[in-house]
């Protein structure tokens, strides 16, 4: 069994010593103390564990850490830059787009990937792309509004 010795997480090289078949989620949470990504279902059907591999959203609960070894891993902890929140983080706060907050990091990371792929996402695109993420507290309308607002503000910033 391959042992993974290092990962590239949030722009830094991190030393690990993990069996390759362990889940990426477990290594991030238990070995690297990056606990923003959450366990919700273990089958990739709730999105609470969503992180980015080379900018693409994956379910880290069902991704073996070996497949993440040569990629750039981005987690919620790396999203704010120099203490400045990402527009999606700002928008989630502004719209109170959460209740218990357990699903929130996965929601935000999935939305980061979506807006990275398609900055002009329509409301329908957002609903389609976010449909794999569950918020049992039911903050969906607020999350959609937050993503729409973040999309506008990111477009404004890039002009």
């Amino acid at each position: 069994m391959a042992i993974i010795k290092e990962l590239h997480v949030n722009g830094s090289r991190r030393v690990v010593n993990a069996e390759g078949e362990r889940s990426l989620l477990s290594v991030l949470r238990d070995d690297l103390d990056l606990t923003g990504s959450k366990y919700g279902c273990g089958e990739g059907r709730c999105g609470a564990c969503t992180v980015l591999l080379d900018g693409r959203a994956v379910r880290s609960c069902s991704t073996p850490v070996s497949t993440a070894a040569d990629t750039e891993i981005q987690t919620i902890e790396g999203l704010a830059k120099d203490g400045k929140l990402h527009p999606l983080q700002e928008a989630f706060l502004k719209h109170d787009a959460l209740q218990c907050g357990y699903c929130t990091c996965g929601m935000i990371m999935n939305a980061v990937a979506l807006l990275g792929r398609d900055p002009d996402s329509s409301r329908e695109d957002i609903i389609r792309s976010m449909n794999g993420n569950i918020c049992r507290c039911g903050a969906y309308p607020r999350i959609v509004a937050a993503i729409q607002e973040a999309a506008r503000s990111m477009k404004g910033a890039s002009k």
């Binding site: 238990d30 606990t35 929140l85 449909n131």
Partner: protein, 721 residues
Amino acid sequence: MSELIFDELLLEPERYELFTDTLFSAELDRRAFFRIVGGGLIVACVLGEADAQQPGRGRGGFGAPGPKELGAWLHVGEDSAVTVYTGKVEIGQNARTSLTQVVAEELHLPMERIKLVMADTQLVPFDGGTAGSGTTPRMAPQLRRAAAAARELLLDLAAEQGKVKREEMSVHDGKVTTTDGRASFTFGQLTQGKKLMKVIDDKTPTTPAEKWTISGASPPKVEGKAIVTGTHQFASDVKRPGMVFGKVLRPPSFKAELVSLQTRDAEALPGVTVARDGSFVGVTAATDHDATKALAALHAEWKTTPQPSSEELFDYLKKHPSAGRGGFGGRGGPDRRGSIAEGLKAADQQLKATYTIAYIAHAPMEPRVAVAEWNDGKLTVWTGTQMPFRVRGELARAFNIPEERVRVIVPDMGSGYGGKHSGESAVEAARLAKAAGKPVKLVWTREEEFTWAYFRPAGVIEVTAGATKDGTLTAWECHNYNSGGSSLRSPYESANVLTEFHTTDSPLKQGSYRALAATANTFAREMHMDDLAHALHLDPLAFRLKNLKDQRLRAVLEAAADRFGWSKSKADDHHGFGIACGTEKGSFVATCAEVSVQRNGLVKVLRVLTAFECGAIINPNHLKNQVEGAGMMALGGALFEAIRFANGKILNPRFSDYRVPRFADTPLFETVLLDRKDLPSAGAGETPIIAVGPAVGNAIFQATGVRLRSLPMAPKGVKAT
């Protein structure tokens, strides 16, 4: 303390999960207060009658009066820091924010200067649990009084220290200042070197709602930034030095008995410990992955017994009455007035129907989790539970140690919805930690959460009613089997009434769920009322109002209808509108829904408007968030959520098999909040869920002519008539 819990149980028998005896003997040693905080000023609240006489009580709220004892306490430190100690838990209902608001209001202090220590049994006074919408009506007033008393004490201290008349001092922005501005003291300057303690009762005056400035506004969630940056610590994020990971061996089906067990292969794996204590078997290992492998290496043989399935559920419930907590009619026994036979005789229209309610799962996003650690015979457990003191009792019993040697800490948790009143994972983690001799983290898998937690009770509800042509309700008879008594008592006037709750033997482990049986009973009642209205060719809104005297319920019903445009909402082919209302836990709700039913039978809920009134509103935006969230959650139970089971196995214990509401299910939500500053604040986390199902069901009836009398109503769509 067990008395308090028992009183609550008498009120709401469907809290099945609580019906095991729990010992609550250990109390916070009041002399130890200053050992915890050093010096400064402490105000402690003693529970009084006011805490027991909130408006929720009459409607089956958590209103049972407790013995004279501590409710919460507040500390003003020598460094000016204000810390509040409460046994309530943050589960996403935003209690951390709303309780901070009420303290900030009375102390005239910015919210960011206030810290809440919640649900740590070593630091906070006993609390019956975060349930029954009790935090706002029962904890918030205590904290208001504690903060108001602290403010007055700080004024006394300032007057004494500054040799100024007390009337010439006021508290602003965390300072006590003379009106002419010449002298000013920080809270720390006033409490430096002191050890002052004041015990207050429920007579302490507080600021009336009309004068609130921080309560009544919508400050953001206090822990919001920590959440969106991933740094907020949930129970599952706790890590202890030397901690290992645990897994528990589960039987293949409910009630299965362990016949034989071979642990050799598992124990041969590096770093693995096998724990066995009676029927409990578990493993620990260095990683979650290793623990999973070790669990798979256990060879167990089980003896199983045949058990009922969901296919025969409702028949089973009717045929298996159980002794005990029956005869409950909403509060204090069956509601029996007049004669049903006479009432039906007087009716122009009679209607009899049976409604069925499936088991559903709470499915909180954070499953049950616990980290347990033993030190010198003392046990500390971090876990996600709504009832930390009850879990402390469970742990003390499980290990036969005094409660004083058990500490339960509940970090803010990934929701509960009434589903986390018990301490299974805490006891399991503590057993594993004892065997391993190390701290152990145990995270239930989603399948375990779907299988070994408890469910919202299933039920059968039989309604017989009659009304005259002019819409006067002449008879109302309603029997609820198993699901519970909450909201069973009808708010509609009728001379002839019989409502009764009947306990039965439940095939699955069941217990509290957000709003308890108010969802089931409101569903049956509001569907039946709608049916009667249609049979009498009366407008469903007018029919309700004709039989409704409760002014608060009328007000939400009229507000919802008005804002929805009920009078102009005309059904057409496959497109309909529905209305429903109800009251529970001292708050009042009415919901209007618009649905379209596609040719293939699929139901699309287009619009949901809810009018809600819970007395004086503390945080309008967070309240709106609760109303919307409850509405969203309600759609799952209303349309498609159901636990399927057979022979002691759950057949759909995964999100891939158990459908919960998702983004694509989201209707347009509108919320109308009626702010009654003249009335005490009631809780709001539950009641907004109760009227959504029947409003949607009534809309489906209008759209299709099909009356769906089972929750969930349309797991596979609506069959054409």
